[in-house]
């Protein structure tokens, strides 16, 4: 049976993890490679690096980080942030990333999803969508959630699927950082609409929230950042909780 994936996301700025686990035995807590190794050892199903560097120059360090991670970590690695063109995707995949996550660049240029999925395969193209509630609908935001695009979320999701995205990373901006749980209405509508898998993101604050993401939201994978980094609970605890609730997770 296919298992629900638990994915920790690491924010990386200028080659350093800005939010990270405070493990005492970690030699360098700011080193993304060290963090990825630990997450893999404790049972993460995939790892996500989100590059939040401000400049293109600084982003180049991500290529080296990905290459070093690929030497040590043998679970899928997704890299997002600052991907503008097909050459950026090629460089990341070549250095050892398994998937790239594309957000603003897909809004500016729809062909990027189409061209990259045709060239490299849909399996490595994750379309990231930042959604914000407006009255009774949801609107897509770009540029790290700062810009209202005016595009409706559900039509954009269908478009991304049709263009060839292999999965969707859906973040609720209203819930992100609140610890009030996923936006289940947004999530459910999206997973009902799409045939490709949806990774739920934004708002998880307790173990019950993970469960609801699957049972009420229909998510194929659950992504979280701060609850893991600040060690509020571990990946093992999340998996044990889900397993007890009869939601299949990988425990081997």
């Amino acid at each position: 049976m296919l298992k629900t994936r638990i994915i920790p996301c690491l924010d990386v700025k200028d080659g350093r993890v800005v939010k990270g686990i405070n493990f005492l035995d970690l030699i360098d807590a700011g080193d993304p490679v060290e963090q990825a190794k630990i997450y893999s050892e404790v049972g993460a199903d995939e790892i996500c690096f989100l590059d939040i560097s401000a400049s293109i120059e600084k982003r180049k360090t991500m290529i080296n980080i990905v290459a070093k991670t690929a030497e040590h970590v043998f679970i899928p690695l997704t890299v997002g942030g600052g991907i503008n063109e097909i050459e950026d995707i090629r460089a990341l995949l070549k250095s050892g990333a398994d998937k790239v996550s594309i957000n603003t660049a897909a809004i500016l240029n729809e062909n990027l999803i189409k061209d990259s999925s045709q060239r490299f395969g849909s399996q490595c193209i994750v379309a990231a969508v930042d959604a914000k509630r407006h009255n009774n609908d949801w609107i897509v935001y770009s540029h790290g959630g700062t810009k209202n695009t005016g595009i409706k979320v559900f039509s954009w999701l269908e478009k991304l699927q049709q263009l060839g995205a292999g999965e969707i990373l859906l973040t609720s901006m209203d819930r992100d950082g609140t610890k009030n749980g996923f936006d289940l209405e947004l999530l459910k509508k999206s997973t009902d609409l799409l045939t490709i898998p949806v990774i739920a993101s934004g708002g998880v604050g307790n173990l019950k929230h993970f469960e609801e993401g699957v049972t009420k939201g229909g998510a194929s994978a659950l992504l979280a950042a701060s609850v893991f980094h600040f060690a509020e609970f571990s990946i093992k605890e999340v998996k044990k909780f889900l397993n007890d609730k009869k939601i299949p997770v990988r425990i081997n």
Binding site: F74, G96, D98, T195
Partner: protein, 211 residues
Amino acid sequence: MKKKVAIIDYGLGNIVSAQQSFIKDAREHNLNADVVITKDVETINNSTHIVLPGQGAFNSCIEGLKSIDGMIDSLENNVLNKKKPFLGICVGMQLLADEGRENGTHNGLGWIKGSTKKLKPNNLKLPHMGWNNVNVINKNFDMDFPIDNLDFYFVHSYYFDCFDKKNIIATTDYDLKFPSIVGKENIYGVQFHPEKSSNQGLRLINSFLKL
């Protein structure tokens, strides 16, 4: 004897992970092994083990292989005549079939009887993406599979429909029980990504390296 592993490069995305996982495994088990990514026919002729990765569509993969001068001939000579251990991964496994039905019907390598077809799961997402367990149903092979019922990382929308059941080593359930490991003499194929499947993936790679 020194193992020389040739991982075939025909212009795909991430094959660094495959190389790194073989290197790590050889190091951990004190195996003397060179692991190279190559499209050079001479290097393949000098190898002891051949790995064919695969990502994307069946037709672009087979075209990619054909576009390298002498590649198909070299593979056939090394695998079918010289019987070197061969491992196809994901689409690299599907290419073993007679044909693939993705973007039209295309000829495969035809080393194991079968056809590549689209998964059509009821109320389940496509691609079949994530960790799923592998049930070993046939242990009648030189390669050891000490991995029964463990989870491996899959990402695919097509599967290898094996015509001869004796070529199926393991199956995985995604609405349909599809072959997740196939084999015939020295030829093996896995639908999942061992190089992305944590410790159990490395264990499988180790079994292959021991051949």
